[in-house]
Symmetry: C2
Subunit: 475 residues, 2 copies
């Protein structure tokens, strides 16, 4: 059965100016979570959302999270809201965040970052437009358009909007876990709109994310930094050891050289083999976003598999060595190499840590160095894969086809959104990632934008999704 | 013939309090050359020296050097002075510097760095005490003691004291080269007192320094820094390439893996083999200064050879990668590795650059990477070795035995003092390094000191050296 959505869609179009005005008001609040001086603006943004939701008839709570870790600074509140409480309707829990990345005009922005500027081609430029104020307001706009159209809202909507996502979601995990069987208890499914289409033309639904294990390798020997003239040739240098160890982890073509990693990766099934051909993604897209042609693979399928379903290892840098421009003839006394492994099904965090640490220790041992070594994980976040066959996804697919006139791609992502897994585990329900923006939005860059089309059609999509998910047969 | 020096020595002892007072006045002037705000103090120190020299009867010139490279700041003047102009005497050119390293009590000093503090055990603590105000004042004190003792000064003394040594000797090379056949024209030999004994008990004469070729390896590919979640596994990472290249340069035991370096090193002669056994140096000394036992060799001879007469390669760091504490999941777009090779006879700078760059390019080629590479020398300074059999050295050896009652060690150093080679080339004369302080003086560290014994006996040594060098038969 196909929901009657035409009058809702018409109302979204009719209200589009006021929805853009709402986004303009939100972008004007510089809710930068990483800067202590901006904390009052982050709080103000939380109150703005709470006020708007209250006006729409939602019951709203501004939940304090205590002090920011290691500081005396109050965390911004989490906006917890409920719209509708009908036992005969499904309940959908949605998550978003109202804080943004830092931005200064002097970073190179063409326009004032905290003034929403609409270009002739429909780009709506401003910090937070696509990440994540546009999608968050999308839910509010969907409620308003239903009211204006006089259509019954199809579900009970639970909302969880945080203000620290761009700075580590301090305190949120505890709240989500604590509320899993309380505030979120009647959620039937979860929907998060905080990621992006794979390209610029075709919508997608995202059902998987890689995890990330981040490691430090410390090597030390001398009591203090040394002069390379005096000690070069007589002392075993920690930097030499560390570089040789780091060089043993991965090769130029991304092959992880640590035994016991590849063995944990789920084999590619025949069904999966067929998934990649139809995905709207070309090597040109990758070259554009990479800014070069220095790719490992030359074809789409192996590239997408490498991003989505195989682990990767990146060397990020070295702490304690000379890192400034110019020349300094120092032998660093202690250096700390940083690298991370993006993890995938069925890799186990503990097993991975074990093989990584053992391998690094073995390589160090083979060097025959008297320098000391310590290797350890700094932080680990698990991969996440949902079933794209769940009714939550099939409802979203139908809504996408209804709004965009095309079946969505089912995608995974190479990065991590740790809160996804937290919601899945805390509620025990299926989680869907339903993006509004496109791959060129530049979420963390200068000139961040959300296309007007993606915003307005996105509001239709969120509303349509709620109708389809209300009716979709359970599977 | 042994000079009659007893009355000179007695006068040095008699005047020791006033010599220490002179050092106290000099240390009290914070002539830190690297800090623009301290430039007036550096200039004041130059004038202090000029005034003292004028009072002693020297003819003095404060030679301006123009602007500091890349700034509008006047360089401190070089103090050029002459004491004596007797055609029947030899002329000795001495060099020193009157600027100092930065120092703040808050760096961890036990005493105020710019107040000379004399401890019960004879340590005279203060910035510049040993590097290089003590030795520079040594020449002035030697003049004064001769006058007070009524002894004819044995040589004509040319003095060149600069104020930028701790910040790259900006402008000095040009001056020395220009004055080689002018102000310095009648110099018969050169003596520099700006290095240290190998240990704490036995004086030494230094006849060799290693050179230094400093290299950058740039690797770049992507248009901008990347997120390792999105691009990990799909892009060839510049950091991976750079680390693998750097790992191919040297091993844990300091072996340089670049072909064409070892081949250039002068073979160890039978004569040289015997030089190391008697040197006052123990592995304990090395462990103390290293702050650990992470040495490459376990014996004195191979350690000294590694420091003095074999090349070494040190990896200093990487510019452009993540170098802060904590975790950041960045794939750097461009990274610049820094390393240097300490060079020795008979290595050629150009030949070394050629084999290094070719090797790095070959290793990069073997990686099969699409990332771009550039390798180049940042700066190169040649090694220096003088003949320790020259009459300049034999005179200094006799003076040392007379003052300290022991034959000095003939040493080389692992580091570079580029001005040494400049003086040799500009004057065409033998250069002697005649240290006053000992290995524990902590020239660039907190609690820099000069032992009272080294200062007072050092003044005797400088004066005695001038007597012996005045009489030493030419060889």
């Amino acid at each position: 059965m196909s929901p009657q959505l035409d009058s809702y869609f018409q109302k979204v179009d009719a209200l589009s100016d006021s929805f853009i005005e709402r986004l303009r008001q939100a972008v004007a609040i510089p809710s930068v979570s990483s800067e202590a001086a901006r904390r009052p603006d982050v709080v103000r943004m939380g109150h703005f959302l709470a006020d708007e939701l209250t006006k729409l008839g939602a019951s709203v709570e501004l939940r304090p999270l205590g002090k920011q870790h290691g500081t005396d600074l109050d965390l911004p509140p989490v906006v917890l809201a409920r719209y509708g409480n009908d036992k005969n309707k499904r309940t959908i829990l949605v998550y978003g965040h109202y804080d943004v990345q830092p931005a200064e005009k002097s970073d190179g922005w063409d326009t004032e970052p905290f003034e929403l500027t609409i270009k002739e081609d429909g780009r709506m430029c401003g910090r937070g437009s696509t990440d994540d104020k546009g999608p968050v307001l999308g839910w509010l706009n969907a409620i308003e358009a239903h009211q204006a159209a006089g259509i019954d809202f199809p579900v009970n909507l639970l909302m969880c909007f945080e203000g620290m996502e761009e700075y580590g979601s301090d305190g949120l995990d505890d709240l989500v876990n604590a509320e899993g069987k309380k505030f979120f208890a009647d959620a039937d499914a979860v929907c998060i709109s905080d990621n992006y289409w794979l390209g610029t033309e075709k919508p997608c639904l995202t059902y998987g994310l890689r995890g990330c294990n981040y490691y430090s390798i410390e090597v030390w020997g001398p009591g203090a930094d040394l002069h390379s003239g005096v000690f070069g040739g007589t002392a075993q240098e920690p930097m030499t050891d560390l570089v040789r160890i780091m060089a043993s982890l991965v090769d130029t073509n991304g092959k992880i050289l640590i035994p016991g990693i590849a063995e944990q990766v789920a084999p590619v099934t025949a069904e999966e083999e067929g998934l990649y051909d139809d995905i709207a993604f070309t090597m040109d897209t990758l070259h554009d976003s990479l800014g070069s042609k220095t790719t490992i693979f030359e074809d789409k399928k192996r590239t997408l598999m490498a991003r989505w379903r195989f682990p990767s290892l990146s060397l990020h840098g070295i702490e304690g060595a000379f890192s400034a421009p110019g020349a300094k003839t120092v032998i660093p006394a202690k250096v700390i190499g940083k690298f991370s492994i993006r993890t995938v099904p069925d890799m186990d965090i503990d097993k991975t840590n074990e093989v990584v640490c053992r391998y690094v220790e073995e390589v160090h041992k083979k060097l025959g160095s008297k320098n000391s070594l310590k290797v350890y994980p700094q932080h680990c976040g698990k991969w996440w894969v949902a079933s794209p066959n769940h009714w939550n996804f099939s409802a979203a697919a139908k809504a996408t086809e209804r709004v965009w006139g095309v079946k969505p791609d089912f995608t995974r992502e190479g990065g991590s959104i740790p809160i996804t897994l937290t919601f899945e585990q805390a509620t025990g329900k299926n989680v869907l990632l339903l993006p509004m923006g496109s791959s060129t939005d530049g979420a963390h860059s200068i000139n961040e934008k959300l296309d007007k089309r993606n915003y307005i059609e996105g509001i239709k999509l969120l509303g349509a999704y709620l109708h389809y998910v209300a009716e979709e047969p359970m599977n």
